[in-house]
């Protein structure tokens, strides 16, 4: 069964302008796919469709299927458990007054409480390397720590699909390295919207180039990113990482 | 205007507590009924905005500075019910986290700054907006809401018997007539800045909820009558006169006196209580009459 299936997904903003047009692709279970493209290409908008945050009124039949289930109102509960969404700004996603409350937010909605909940929160925090952070208020955390708490809050629901919006933005090099290696260990299928082309090369087996709401190209990152003409035509560039021999890449690539 | 602990006596603390809880309860109910779920987080964010805006100091003169109070701004941006909720959150946080304003005075502070100020501001702003334009309407709303909140605050202090009315009225009223000028200017400027950048936010955030105002407006009128009117003897008191003409005053005073006369505690001003209660009933009568008139005019306008 495909983890994510999009069939002719089209979306217009409330003001009528076209945001996404005729998007079709699918993700296998555990597959890690990058979503690249210039600002305003529709990457974030696409991610919001994965668990029904967009469109405002759910379309029937839905153009999006998650683990075999169409994303329609009746399924929102299961779909939102299955799809973990990591937002661009950790301050938007981290809305509870303590780390514990925030990581526990998802499972609480799904009915977990008490000691089982506390144990689960502890495990999720340990998974992102923040064991013992439960009682910290978010305003005492660094940017990288905040993002990892967000990730813990998503992972605790054990999603089959992760939708990540610019996960490495404004992390320092060490934070970026740690996040990338953490993401490589996760079993979930991942759709990663990003400008961080190193992340694409090191973590993903496939890249989808999006511009003005349409899929321009879909293929292995090494081929796609090396095509300098294509990259420049869509506001991107050929990453330096491809001009050097890189031991990492042959493992990460397909 | 944050009253600390120790400045209010038990009856004032209790009365204002009841008024505040009633106001917040009414506002919360209206919000639950009329706010779409996607705007619930806006309550918290708007409260945080008011709090942060209060931290911005505006230079006044000679090195002194003033800051925003925010009641009128919240009312215009959010509508009265949501403004009451957001302002209450700000005051509860200031009390519990910053110890700004006393616990026994929390009811009074909530009522003055989170109920009276935004509701008065809204009641002034809405009708005036069409006549005087947004800038003029909001300026007057901000000034009046500040001054009236200060008067209620003065009434509470006087009613508690700590400071005499003839001392506290000019002090609070005078200072806040000045502070209100600053409030009017800041509020107008901020609203102007929002209108210039994102005019649609002002349309979206302040839908006309006339029903919001009925309960809350009544409550504010009630508070004014209980807390301010008894001291305002020299004022030409329209409400009391109405009450007297309608025969409420004697009636209620007697009603109260009859069962209570035998138990009269020396020093407890039953007479004053009678005045208050007749005032309350007078207010209700005037309010109902005003409401009926507005309703009729509204219907006529609708039919034409």
């Amino acid at each position: 069964m495909k983890a994510v299936e999009l069939l002719d997904l089209t979306y217009r903003y409330p003001d009528g302008s076209a945001a996404l047009g005729g998007i079709s692709f699918s993700l296998d279970a555990g597959e890690r796919v990058a979503l690249i493209g210039p600002n305003g290409a529709g990457k974030s908008t696409l991610l919001l469709h994965l668990n029904g945050l967009l469109p405002e009124r759910p379309a029937v039949p839905s153009a999006v299927t998650i683990c075999g289930e169409p994303v329609v109102q009746e399924n929102f509960f299961r779909v939102r458990k299955n799809v973990g969404l990591l937002f661009q700004d950790p301050d938007d996603q981290l809305f509870c007054p303590t780390v514990f409350e925030d990581v526990a937010f998802g499972p609480r909605q799904f009915g977990l409480a008490g000691a089982a909940l506390a144990a689960k929160v502890g495990a999720a925090l340990a998974q992102v390397g923040l064991a013992g952070y439960e009682n910290r208020p978010p305003h005492h955390l660094s940017r990288g720590e905040k993002r990892r708490v967000c990730l813990a809050g998503v992972l605790i629901c054990e999603p089959a699909v992760l939708a990540l919006d610019e996960p490495t933005t404004d992390l320092d090099p060490r934070g970026r390295r740690e996040l990338k290696s953490l993401l490589r260990q996760l079993p979930a299928a991942q759709l990663i919207a990003t400008h961080d082309l190193e992340l694409v090369v090191e973590n993903c087996t496939r890249a989808i180039l999006l511009d003005r709401g349409r899929i321009i190209a879909d293929g292995p990152p090494s081929a796609l990113l090396a095509d300098e003409t294509l990259m420049l035509a869509h506001g991107l560039e050929r990453p330096h990482i491809l001009s050097h021999a890189h031991p990492h890449r042959s493992q990460g690539g397909s | 205007m944050h009253i600390p602990d120790g400045f209010l006596d038990a009856k004032t603390a209790l009365a204002t507590g009841v008024l505040a809880v009633a106001g917040l309860g009414l506002a919360l109910r209206r919000v639950r009924q009329s706010f779409p779920p996607q705007r619930i987080p806006l309550l918290g964010l708007a409260a945080a905005f008011i709090f942060a805006a209060q931290l911005l100091n505006f230079p006044v003169a000679g090195g002194t500075s003033g800051h925003l109070l925010g009641g009128a701004l919240a009312a215009v941006l959010l509508g009265p019910a949501a403004a009451v909720v957001a302002m209450s959150a700000v005051l509860v946080l200031q009390c519990l986290l910053f110890s700004d304003g006393g616990v026994t005075a929390l009811g009074a502070n909530l009522f003055n700054m989170a109920v009276v100020a935004p509701v008065v501001a809204w009641a002034v702003f809405r009708p005036l907006e069409r006549i005087a334009g947004r800038g003029g309407a909001v300026a007057l709303a901000a000034w009046l809401s500040t001054v009236i909140a200060a008067l209620v605050c003065a009434g509470e202090l006087a009613w508690s018997g700590r400071v005499a009315w003839h001392l506290v009225l000019p002090a609070m009223g005078g200072v806040h007539a000045l502070i209100g000028l600053g409030e009017a200017l800041i509020t107008t400027l901020i609203l102007g800045a929002i209108a210039a950048a994102r005019p649609e936010l002002l349309e979206a955030t302040a839908p006309a909820h006339r029903r919001d105002l009925i309960g809350l407006g009544l409550l504010v009128a009630l508070g004014l009558v209980v807390l301010v009117a008894p001291f305002a003897c020299p004022w030409p008191d329209g409400l009391e006169r109405v009450a007297a003409r309608l025969g409420f005053e004697q009636h209620t005073a007697q009603l109260l006196k009859a069962p209570l006369a035998d138990y009269a505690v020396p020093g407890l001003p039953w007479e004053k209580l009678g005045t208050v209660i007749s005032g309350v009933i007078g207010t209700l009568a005037v309010f109902v009459a005003a409401w009926a008139v507005v309703r009729m005019i509204g219907k006529k306008a609708h039919n034409v």
């Binding site: 945050l53 301050d91 938007d92 | 987080p41 945080a48 230079p59 110890s99 616990v103 700590r162 400027l189």
Partner: protein, 205 residues
């Protein structure tokens, strides 16, 4: 006032910190009610409460300067109103009484809030059946207070770095623009927070 200073010492390790938030809140409220509402001039009671609070403060291991500073921050309004009382007959007694009562209550509340994480107080409110919408609003206010304050500070600096006039009128306009932008950003953030809450299964109850 620096909001960060507020709960800087809320997570120390002391007997006062270790008490559960609910009972601590009730005890502090009882003490405040007693002091604030006791009629007349109960000097002996006030003395005893002062001694009790001083003992608790010592037990809590909080830096005394921190407590004193927080006591002084709230002083101006209290002093102003109490000074009015001086103009009445028997004014000095009322003046001293008002100051003593308000200072003691303030000290009790500062001890409570400075030794209890605000989130524990929120939990206590939730258990006391304060309507959930209001507790959520308080929690969001507490969470985003610091974010918004920093945002306002950054915007203000950015504005100043490009202004070359220092007249008062100009400063008012700059501040009003900053505040206006702050509100606009807050509405956008509120929408994104709603999305983040829904993404994790939140529904309004």
């Amino acid at each position: 006032m620096q909001p960060d200073l507020i709960d800087r010492y809320a997570r120390l390790d002391s007997p006062v910190h270790a008490l559960a938030a609910g009972p601590k809140l009730c005890a502090a409220l009882a003490l405040v009610l007693l002091v604030a509402l006791w009629p007349g001039a109960p000097w002996r009671l006030l003395g005893a409460v002062a001694a009790l609070l001083a003992a608790l403060a010592a037990l809590s291991r909080m830096p005394p300067r921190f407590l004193l500073r927080r006591l002084l921050i709230a002083a101006p309004f209290a002093l102003g109103v109490a000074a009015l009382a001086l103009l009445q007959p028997d004014g000095l007694r009322i003046f001293l009484l008002l100051l003593a009562k308000s200072t003691l209550c303030l000290a009790a509340m500062i001890l409570l809030t400075a030794t209890t994480p605000f989130t524990d107080l929120l939990e206590a409110l939730r258990r006391a059946r304060v309507p959930p919408v209001f507790v959520t609003t308080l929690a969001l206010l507490y969470r985003y207070l610091f974010v918004l304050r920093d945002e306002a500070g950054r915007m203000r600096r950015a504005r100043w770095s490009r202004s070359f006039s220092a007249t008062r009128a100009h400063r008012w306009r700059v501040l009003a623009t900053v505040a206006g932008q702050l509100f606009i950003r807050s509405t956008g953030r509120a929408e994104r927070i709603y999305a983040a809450m829904s993404a994790r299964g939140w529904e309004v109850k």
